[in-house]
């Protein structure tokens, strides 16, 4: 039978943990509300931006807008070097949030390795960066405190290297991996190919319905500038979406932890009462048998 004092200490320690997890849950709930609002406001813009870009890409693919040969819009058959940018949280204690992203990155890495493609891994967020460093996977570069505090300017600076290198032909594709917000309970893992713009879903037949004209005398300049904004925004949106998802994941993880702690305290209490009862019984027996022996 466990010592009464030991059980008491255990109960105290578990309830303290419970207090911490409950506080963390509350903090995450408050932060989630803010970041969710931010992500929600940008969602519409992101969706429309994707739509516009996809339509242009589709039209270029179907040769409706003649004579445009932009690297960002043409499929590259045999990529030699690709960039993978992943976004994880800076902090743990948020369930499978980070590991899901890491797993997706690992899968993508393995796929490219099989094809003998060189991968430049660029990381945002301490957890993911630490994981790959520990596993001795080479990182091209890493930023640590950007994912917890998304900042448009820093995100732009970070992504600029990839955009420039893509346009210069140093890399042949750009992937973005992050865990996004779906609702309070679920996160949505996004593995997107940002560059070249994916036009595979666009049906050429649809193009026939309407004529699109790209105004501006120099199309190249317009597309260049549009693609820059598109990729920059995709990066920024990934960051804010990831923050919202991180808080929702943490809120959930902490909720589960609080409940588990509650269950544990309950079962420990039962154990404590049993032990206490056993101790009383033993003591009584000792007294009674002592009295008996005196007779």
């Amino acid at each position: 039978m466990a010592n009464l004092k030991d059980i008491q200490r255990q109960i105290k320690s578990v309830s303290n943990t419970q207090k911490t997890t409950r506080a963390m849950k509350l903090v995450s709930t408050a932060k989630l509300r803010r970041s969710e609002e931010l992500a929600k406001r940008s969602r519409l813009y992101a969706a429309k931006m994707n739509q516009v870009i996809a339509e242009i890409a589709g039209r270029i693919k179907c040769n409706k807008v003649g004579g445009i040969d932009n690297r960002c819009f043409s499929e590259i058959d045999n990529p030699k070097t690709v960039d993978i940018i992943f976004v994880t949280a800076d902090k743990g204690l948020c369930g499978g949030f980070n590991i899901q992203t890491i797993k997706a990155v690992k899968k993508l890495l393995a796929e490219y390795k099989e094809k003998n493609v060189k991968v430049r891994l660029r990381g945002i967020g301490k957890k993911g960066v630490e994981f790959f460093k520990y596993n001795e996977v080479e990182l091209f570069d890493a930023v640590i405190d950007l994912s917890s505090k998304p900042d448009k300017e820093r995100a732009d600076n970070f992504i600029e290297t990839s955009i420039e290198d893509f346009k210069d032909g140093k890399i042949d594709a750009l992937h973005l991996v992050y865990n996004g917000y779906k609702n309070m309970l679920t996160q949505d893992l996004h593995v997107t190919k940002v560059l070249p713009v994916d036009a595979s879903q666009f049906e050429c037949e649809e193009v026939e319905k309407s004529m699109l004209e790209i105004e501006a005398q120099d199309d190249e300049k317009m597309l260049d500038s549009l693609v820059n904004r598109y990729v920059e925004f995709a990066m920024y949106y990934a960051l804010i979406d990831s923050v919202a998802a991180e808080h929702s994941a943490r809120m959930q993880a902490m909720d589960t932890a609080t409940n588990n702690a509650k269950d544990m305290v309950k079962s420990l209490n039962v154990k404590f009462n049993k032990a206490r009862q056993a101790a009383i019984t033993t003591e009584l027996i000792e007294i009674i048998s002592g009295v008996e022996s005196m007779k």
Binding site: R41, S42, L44, Y45, K48, M49, V52, E55, I56, S210, M211, L212, E213, I214, E215, A216, Q217, M222, S225, L226, R229, F233, Y236
Partner: protein, 130 residues
């Protein structure tokens, strides 16, 4: 007159969503107006003012710093990076919007003569409202 559907979106949310008689946009190659059933086009916008002519013929001005517009037969979608609508219930609200607009103009880095014209334009738009 036929109305067109107009959506103006910024990364921070919608700034206009509704119908309009016509809309004038500050294109890279110069200002252009769009009426309902305009042919499809896609072009970049530079810093300037979007003038929306509403159903009651009143004009609403929105200042933008960069944007892209997609026009098709049904609707006009304008994606802008930063925008300030010059509107308000009373004078102080309009003055506030005007101040915000001036801040946005200042944040635009290049100092082309067009920017000065934009600044004059929003002032007159605000004057008209008061």
């Amino acid at each position: 007159m036929q109305m067109l559907k107009l959506e103006i979106l910024t990364p921070n949310g919608e700034i206009y969503n509704g119908s309009a008689l016509s809309v004038t946009l500050p294109g890279e190659e110069g200002e252009f107006g769009v009426l309902a059933e305009h042919s499809s086009l896609c072009t970049l916008l530079e810093a300037g003012v979007i003038d929306i002519e509403k159903e009651d013929k009143s004009i609403e001005s929105i200042l933008i710093n960069w944007g892209v517009v997609q026009v098709d037969e049904e609707k006009v979608i304008v994606l802008v990076e930063g925008a300030v609508a010059i509107r308000g219930e009373n004078e102080s609200e309009i003055a506030h919007a005007l101040e915000e607009a001036k801040e946005l103009i200042e944040s635009i880095k290049d100092n082309s003569p067009a920017i000065a014209a934009v600044s004059a334009k929003i002032e007159s738009a605000a004057q008209n409202l008061i």
